[in-house]
């Protein structure tokens, strides 16, 4: 109980509460999907009413009825719009002719009254209702009708799709590539048929499952739960830094028993956190969309669950999903706890964990599901946190006669991992001593460090502040990681150009640029040569026909034309470029240069987006981590009072700190983008930097036409400047955070602000993609 109270203290509960609220906000945000709250609630209400209207019919009847009524609504709206537009224009002389034409058409086409008299009662009712709504509400209603129509198509086709699977299974056994016994292919076919046989008699019906569907597909709560568990585990190791470790280690039940209690705490804590997040999200979904009574219907009612082969109700599935999620979260927590036990410094563990998660994300994205290494795609942190997707997707693995579902294999692996990690963590906790021996190397280092400090004391304050940031704050790790990321991502994913493309680039280099008359002549020559080859072939054909030449000579003429055709294909890029140059000349009056787009598109065009995003994210994160210690460190070490009491210890020191942070920020930005540009220059080259930026076709409309006013080097400078501004902005935010952490001692603020800055960078990245 003591451990529970220690870990789940007031601040932790505030954090959990904030996380729960944040989760609900994110859930609502994901459901808004660009609409206002009014529109969202209206849409939810409309969907419910529509379901109530059609749910008592058979599925086929419902689909037909909905189709008819929806069609009539649209038809009526269209006729009404035409009638209204005729009313508006009938008095203008200019539109008299149009009116007469429209009037003629009106005689032939239906009027709205005629349509109303022809359609059935249900359609009239729906049309009247549709017309009573505002334009926005009508749009929402039509969207809900479309969604319901898709849903009914799925429900109606479900039985047939299961029958198709069974028929496919039988049919596939006839083909030799699948019919060899004792192979995985054959066994998988049998297993699939057995699994789908379970759901052959499932009867689906139309119901209001929007709430449950939205809940089941919402995965962010698992990420939030995982983040909270990281915070819980982190606080389990407070004793390592607050001086209590020795005492705890030496008290009765302070080792193995305490470790076992912490194991239970992790299991219980993950249950409680997940229960809060899961429960509140589920309640919100039900309040928003309703459909509680429909939770008893089969889970296959969800459109994405057409291949789910267990006969569960939606309620049962949601409950099962909760326990599965809890199990996975608890296993992750135990594995992470074991990782923390492996290192003496918990911050090192955090860094390792972050690096591991980064690698997992990369692996998940890069390894295709068809790859022979797809095990790393499915047994992956990212995959586990999409629990519902993993559980509901039907995929099998295996060998010979042994067939396993991917989910069961992944869960099994996690279970075994968690078990062994749990044992390791408990045993390690009991054996790990608070104090270690001071080695000879450590004593030597202390002595050298003392001399170093004496020398360093004479250096300027700005350098000392920089030293504090980078060396004392152990930010060298962050700097090293940043350099490695910059070096790696600026060379990864490079495009290999074909020989033909390299030939084009060589032509641009030698004969392109400002004066490209040579290329114009080159193109004209080739077009002329092709025309001549065509004429020559016609003459050769006539001569061969007349017996004047032999077959060999005629063959030669055919070959020449084939060759010239290929040559014309090779000058298409030049033709396109010349045409672009002409277009720019006509529209803007500017003379562009003829240069290659290829390399620059990799450097700052559409192919550079991912690389740029990763680099700016890494830079921003490193700056936040390093700079946020600039003020907080003094508070933590107790030096704050001494510094503030010293002469020039306030405003002057702050100025030096800011200077140091600015120097660091500029230095890191220069390092990252220096490496980036150096590598890209080495791979792709950067010719014609003085050329107008508009010479690059992909910059034609970029940033509101800004490219029309600068050269390529100018454009590069603008991009660098933007990145520097973002970095300095991050530095400012980090300094403010550092001040807040220091004064209030609230270290949880840093990760929260870091998350906020990362989100901002992501938003900027999305926005720049639209520009």
């Amino acid at each position: 109980m003591g451990e529970v109270k220690r870990v789940f203290h007031k601040k932790m509960w505030i954090l959990i509460a904030v996380a729960v609220l944040g989760n609900l906000c994110l859930f609502l945000y994901s459901e808004l999907a660009g609409r206002s709250f009014t529109e969202m609630f209206f849409a939810a209400g409309q969907y419910q009413k529509l379901v109530e209207r059609y749910e008592n019919m058979s599925l086929e009847q419902a689909q037909e009825r909905l189709g008819t009524e929806f069609g009539n609504i649209r038809k009526y709206a269209k006729i009404l719009k035409q009638e209204n537009s005729q009313e508006e224009t009938k008095n203008t002389a200019q539109n008299e002719m149009q009116n007469s034409r429209t009037a003629e058409n009106a005689v032939q086409k239906q009027t709205s009254e005629e349509l109303l008299s022809e359609v059935d009662e249900g359609s009239r009712e729906m049309i009247a209702y549709h017309q009573s709504l505002t334009a926005q509400q009508q749009t929402q209603l039509e969207l809900q009708l479309k969604q319901l129509r898709s849903k009914l198509e799925y429900l109606n086709g479900y039985e047939a799709s299961i029958d198709t699977v069974m028929a496919n299974a039988e049919n596939m056994k006839r083909f030799r590539i699948f019919s060899k016994q004792n192979t995985f292919s054959y066994s998988n076919i049998l297993r699939t048929a057995q699994d789908f046989e379970r759901v052959q008699n499932v009867e689906l019906k139309l119901d209001n499952d929007k709430g449950a569907d939205a809940f089941v597909h919402y995965n962010l709560m698992y990420y939030i739960a995982a983040a909270l568990m990281v915070a819980v585990i982190y606080s389990l190791f407070d004793e390592r830094e607050n001086g209590m470790w020795q005492i705890v280690h030496n008290t009765p039940n302070g080792r193995t028993v305490l470790a076992l209690k912490r194991l239970l705490l992790l299991a219980g804590g993950s249950f409680a956190i997940l229960f809060l997040l899961y429960g509140t999200t589920f309640l919100t979904a039900m309040l928003l969309y309703g459909g509680v009574k429909d939770l008893a219907n089969p889970v296959q009612t969800f459109v994405d669950f057409g291949k789910f082969t267990y006969t569960l109700s939606k309620g049962a599935y949601i409950l099962r999903l909760f326990f599965l999620s809890w199990f996975i979260l608890a296993a992750f927590s135990i594995i992470l706890w074991a990782l923390f036990m492996a290192f003496r410094n918990r911050n090192h563990t955090l860094i390792c964990t972050a690096a591991f998660v980064g690698i997992e994300i990369l692996v998940y994205q890069k390894i295709e599901v068809q790859s022979v290494y797809n095990v790393f795609h499915y047994i992956n942190v990212v995959s586990f946190l999409k629990i519902s997707d993993l559980y509901s997707t039907y995929i099998n693995w295996g060998f010979q006669n042994y067939v396993f579902s991917v989910f069961s294999v992944a869960l099994f692996f996690l279970t075994v991992c968690g078990l062994f990690c749990g044992i390791f963590a408990v045993m390690r906790y009991a054996a790990m001593r608070p104090n270690t021996k001071v080695s000879l190397l450590s004593r030597m280092f202390t002595a050298v460090h003392g001399q170093y400090q004496r020398v360093f004391a004479k250096y300027p304050v700005v350098l000392k502040e920089l030293h504090k940031l980078v060396i004392t704050g152990k930010a060298l790790w962050a700097v090293a990681a940043l350099i490695i990321i910059a070096a790696y991502f600026s060379t990864t994913g490079q495009i290999t150009f074909t020989d033909a493309q390299k030939e084009y680039d060589k032509m641009y280099l030698e004969h392109g640029g400002k004066e490209y008359g040579y290329i114009e002549d080159y193109v004209q020559e080739r077009l002329e040569a092709y025309r001549q080859a065509q004429e020559a072939l016609e003459e050769a054909a006539a001569a061969y026909e007349a017996g004047e030449i032999e077959l060999k000579e005629y063959t030669a003429a055919v070959s020449v034309l084939q060759y010239q055709r290929q040559v014309v294909n090779t000058i298409q890029e030049y033709q396109s470029k010349l045409s672009y140059a002409e277009q720019i000349r006509e529209t803007t009056g500017q003379e562009i240069w003829l240069i290659s787009d290829r390399g620059y598109e990799e450097i700052f065009g559409k192919y550079s987006r991912q690389r740029e995003f990763i680099l700016i994210l890494a830079l921003v994160t490193a700056i936040m981590i390093i700079v946020s210690e600039s003020i907080a460190m003094e508070y933590r070490t107790g030096m704050y009072q001494i510094v503030h009491s010293a002469p020039n210890g306030r405003a002057a020191v702050m100025r030096w700190k800011i200077t140091a942070c600015v120097v660091l920020t500029i230095g890191l930005t220069a390092a990252v983008y220096g490496i980036d540009i150096w590598n890209l220059h080495h791979i792709y080259g950067m010719p014609y930097l003085a050329a107008p930026a508009l010479s690059l076709t992909f910059l034609e409309n970029a940033w509101g036409g800004l490219a029309g006013h600068v050269s390529i080097s100018g454009w590069l400078m603008i991009l660098l400047l933007v990145r520097l501004v973002v970095a300095l902005f991050t530095m400012t935010a980090a300094m403010l955070v550092s001040r807040a952490i220091g004064k209030k001692g609230n270290r949880a603020l840093m990760p929260a602000v870091l998350a906020g800055v990362i989100l901002l960078v992501w938003i900027l990245h999305q926005v720049t993609q639209l520009v």
């Binding site: 069974m166 496919n168 596939m172 056994k173 006839r174 083909f175 030799r176 590539i177 699948f178 019919s179 060899k180 016994q181 192979t183 995985f184 292919s185 066994s187 076919i189 049998l190 297993r191 699939t192 789908f196 291949k307 295709e368 599901v369 068809q370 790859s371 022979v372 039907y394 995929i395 006669n401 042994y402 067939v403 396993f404 069961s408 099994f412 075994v416 078990l419 044992i423 994913g493 495009i495 290999t496 074909t498 020989d499 033909a500 493309q501 030939e503 054909a541 026909e545 077959l551 060999k552 005629y554 063959t555 030669a556 055919v558 070959s559 020449v560 084939q562 060759y563 290929q566 090779t570």
Partner: protein, 400 residues
């Protein structure tokens, strides 16, 4: 310590028991009472010619497998690996998932969606079957990569980078023992600068590569690579331009032979040979000289005979030999009297004496075939023709 060891051992034993139980539970046994179709097939055996030389070497869109043929099928822009079963005479996607709709990358057979990417991620005219695996070319980042896939489509592995490629089906492969020899059959055709054409040897075990042959020329390309016995054969085509007269000619520089064992290359026929084939059993080499005709060279007697002269609709060709007959496909090139009209595509079927058995009208590129079937392309579809009783009236059958 002893207690902890006991606990650890107990946990390990229990885990092992649970694992065994889990595996046994998931063992699939077929119910013998069910009325299933059992097809008895034997072990994977080598064909007479493991490297399947009878296919069109530079349009290798079909490959022979056990009991049928693998090919790439494109429907509504979606390309996937398909298998044409000889027994059922039907095609099926190479994906052992009855629940799969074969329309996205969760499917084992799925290759790419032409509509989405704009250019193919896999070369759709290139598929090989060798030693129990399928080999395709994937284009990623402008590089053509050799990908190995299980014959049931279940796993993919990138072996090596081959040549820069943006989705043009121009990379050809020749397999020999545990290596593959790759070349780009488009080369620098159409370009006017000198460039180097190479044949690369890539190990199928570890992907290491080396260049085994290189040729420097203008507008040159290496074509028609095949292996017979312990030799690799190929032709070189080159466009030459007379700088004074500016006249251009396109010539085949001859038939070349590369020795796998010694690594030496030599020219074996110095003539305008556009294609060739070998009957290794009878020691015969058949080759077609552009504009002249088909020759048969008897290696035992040293005699060289023109057995079928070139004609109006057969100026140049691609060839195949299935052990019984020769197949010459004119590729739609050169009809003397109707230069502007669409040239008819024909596949000539000859015996080894040069007697014409059939002249088959074709709808697209002919891929040739083994002793049983002939295949051709028709728009995005594959068609086949049974080789028994071939005649001018033989008809192509569409594979759906």
């Amino acid at each position: 310590m002893k207690k902890k060891m006991m606990i650890t051992c107990t946990v390990v034993l229990v885990t092992a028991a649970v694992i065994l139980g889990f595996v046994l539970k998931n063992q699939v046994r077929e119910n013998p009472d069910k009325n299933t179709v059992n097809v008895a097939i034997g072990q994977w055996g080598t064909t007479q010619n493991e490297s399947q030389n009878y296919w069109n070497p530079d349009n290798h869109a079909v490959a022979k497998g056990m009991g049928g043929y693998y090919f790439i099928q494109t429907t509504d822009g979606i390309s996937k690996i398909a298998f044409f079963d000889e027994t059922t005479q039907e095609a099926v996607a190479v994906c052992a998932k009855p629940e799969c709709t074969h329309s996205d990358n969760t499917c084992n057979a799925y290759l790419c969606d032409m509509k989405q990417t704009g250019s193919a991620l896999y070369l759709t005219d290139t598929i090989y079957c060798y030693n129990g695996y399928l080999y395709l070319i994937q284009c990623e980042g402008g590089m053509g990569k050799l990908v190995r896939i299980h014959t049931d489509g279940s796993a993919r592995e990138t072996i090596a980078d081959l040549f820069a490629n943006t989705g043009v089906s121009s990379i050809s492969l020749v397999f020999h023992e545990n290596d593959v020899y790759a070349y780009d059959d488009t080369g620098h055709a159409g370009q006017e600068e000198e460039a180097e054409e190479v044949i690369k040897k890539i190990s199928l075990t570890d992907g290491t590569e080396q260049t085994v042959f290189s040729y420097t020329g203008t507008g040159a390309s290496i074509d028609r690579g095949r292996s017979f016995g312990d030799k690799l054969y190929f032709v070189i085509r080159e466009y030459t331009k007379n700088k004074e007269t500016k006249a251009v000619s396109s010539d085949y520089k001859g038939l070349f032979e590369y020795d796998f064992a010694t690594g030496d290359t030599r020219k074996v026929i110095d003539a305008d040979v556009c294609d060739y084939h070998a009957d290794t059993e009878n020691q015969m080499l058949f080759y077609f000289v552009q504009g002249t005709g088909l020759y048969a060279y008897d290696m035992t007697q040293g005699s060289n005979t023109l057995i079928y002269p070139a004609e109006d609709e057969l100026i140049q060709c691609k060839m195949s030999y299935d052990g019984k007959n020769l197949y010459l496909f004119n590729n739609g090139a050169g009809r003397a009297t109707e230069t502007k009209a669409r040239t008819q595509r024909y596949c000539y079927v000859l015996d080894t004496k040069g007697n014409q058995i059939a002249k088959i009208l074709c709808n697209g590129v002919v891929y040739f075939g083994d002793t049983d079937y002939l295949f051709e392309e028709n728009a995005d579809n594959l068609e086949y023709m049974k080789k028994e009783n071939l005649s001018d009236k033989s008809e192509w059958i569409l594979i759906n």
